[in-house]
């Protein structure tokens, strides 16, 4: 599919999610390798993805990137600046990059991303890379979307106590110490090694990269490929895809609830339980009116 058509379809899905099943349904089924990249703001996710794209393109494979940045809770506007790091690929016909705003979704993703990833897969890309918003400690939604999650870390973001905390440190399949050209990265790597053994994970899941010198990027891509194949062969992938479908459904439901709450309006009901009753009855009414899968 040409990029212009694809871009238009993504906009349609983003603005009218109820159209998504029909739009995605137009295309034959195709499975891409869906790889998630997450990590705190400024650890170098976008730059690392740029280097990963290079390696994927060296093998003449195609790649789509979805890069998510936060929306303002006040104005609903957003500044989407992940593309800046991927400029070398703008005119490559086999690379498609799309920036998306989180539009109020929590968890590091946006609600439309499940449908958008389905569409990108169906359009035949070999790889679909998803970059989350810069996350804190508890944004773990990416692990419900991606076949495989890469957590990008960089020196200077805290000591080894941070690694013991639950949440984002637990969900990764691969841990990357980025900015390995910085001297402090050795300490981080050692801390991570200790954490990995505590968590019962394998040293194989650890990787050191520098987007600056390109050290370790090839190793990271090889690890991604190897692990994806391993997950494919041992049934993990099938299980994760089922989990993804379930979380997709959860997102759709949550969106419907939000819209009903919004339609009821602010501060109309004094009692929260009364509010819930009202919202539920509205939801049921809308559902029976539209039949299944209808929009609001």
């Amino acid at each position: 599919m040409d990029h212009k058509t694809l871009a238009k379809l993504i906009t349609q899905i983003e603005n009218n999610p109820e159209l998504a099943p029909e739009i995605v349904g137009r295309f034959p089924e195709h499975q891409s390798k869906v790889i998630g990249f997450t990590g705190s703001p400024g650890v170098g996710k976008s730059s690392l993805i740029d280097r990963v794209i290079r390696w994927i393109r060296n093998k003449d494979l195609s790649v789509a990137v979805v890069a998510i940045d936060p929306s303002s809770p006040f104005s609903k506007g957003a500044f989407l600046g992940d593309r800046i790091r991927m400029r070398d690929h703008f005119v490559d016909e086999k690379v498609f990059i799309r920036s998306m705003a989180s539009r109020g979704a929590l968890g590091g993703l946006c609600d439309a991303v499940f449908d958008v990833v389905n569409l990108l897969e169906a359009s035949g890309f070999d790889y679909v890379l998803v970059e989350t918003v810069g996350v804190g400690q508890s944004e773990v939604e990416i692990s419900n979307l991606a076949d495989l999650t890469v957590l990008v870390l960089s020196p200077g973001l805290g000591d080894d106590v941070q690694m013991l905390k639950a949440g984002v440190m637990e969900i990764a399949d691969l841990y990357v110490v980025n900015k390995s050209d910085l001297p402090e990265s050795d300490t981080l790597y050692t801390q991570l090694l200790a954490f990995i053994s505590l968590a019962g994970k394998s040293e194989e899941q650890l990787c050191k990269t520098s987007s600056h010198t390109l050290d370790g990027v090839q190793e990271l891509v090889e690890k991604i490929e190897k692990l994806w194949q391993f997950f494919h062969d041992n049934g993990t992938l099938r299980h994760r895809r089922k989990k993804r479908t379930q979380h997709h459904a959860e997102h759709i439901l949550r969106k419907m609830i939000q819209q009903v709450m919004y339609s009821i309006g602010d501060y109309q009901v004094e009692d929260p339980y009364e509010f819930v009753e009202l919202a539920l009855s509205k939801l049921c009414k809308i559902h029976s009116k539209n039949g299944q899968g209808g929009g609001i």
Partner: protein
């Protein structure tokens, strides 16, 4: 609800993007999703970005003096890619004498130095309204 997406791009070789960032920030605060491409973009990169991001409006920030050549190149490439319906505005150091030429090329608005941000936001809204009116919305 539809949220408009705006591309703020810096074509050419000048290395000053303070203005582009200030405008991007103001548009963000006005409720738009702003995609920023960074410095030193070729017209090809800008047009491919506009196409992939399916933006509703393109803002070019040019301080190098090459605004006539660069704007023309972007607009020509947009025609080639079939996205010439996306309105374009230009900001930067633009001598008043060059404004008519830019407008004739198809540029919708030109914002010179000292244009208040509130005016840019207002004009951006009005350009987008014109677009929605002419296509009947989508």
């Amino acid at each position: 609800m539809r949220i408009f997406r705006i591309l703020i791009a810096k074509p050419g070789l000048d290395g000053h993007d303070r203005g582009a960032k200030v405008v991007a920030h103001a548009l963000r605060d006005a409720g738009f999703e702003v995609i920023y491409t960074g410095l030193r973009q070729t017209p090809e990169q800008i047009v491919r970005t506009a196409l992939q991001e399916d933006v509703d409006l393109i803002g070019l920030s040019i301080l190098s003096g090459a605004h006539l050549q660069l704007s023309k190149k972007v607009i020509d490439l947009m025609k080639k890619e079939g996205i010439e319906h996306i309105p374009v505005f230009v900001g930067g150091i633009i001598p008043p004498d060059d404004v008519p030429q830019l407008l004739q090329m198809g540029v919708k608005r030109v914002f010179g130095p000292g244009t208040p941000l509130s005016k840019i936001v207002e004009e951006v809204k009005s350009i987008l309204q014109e677009g929605v009116a002419s296509t009947g919305g989508s």
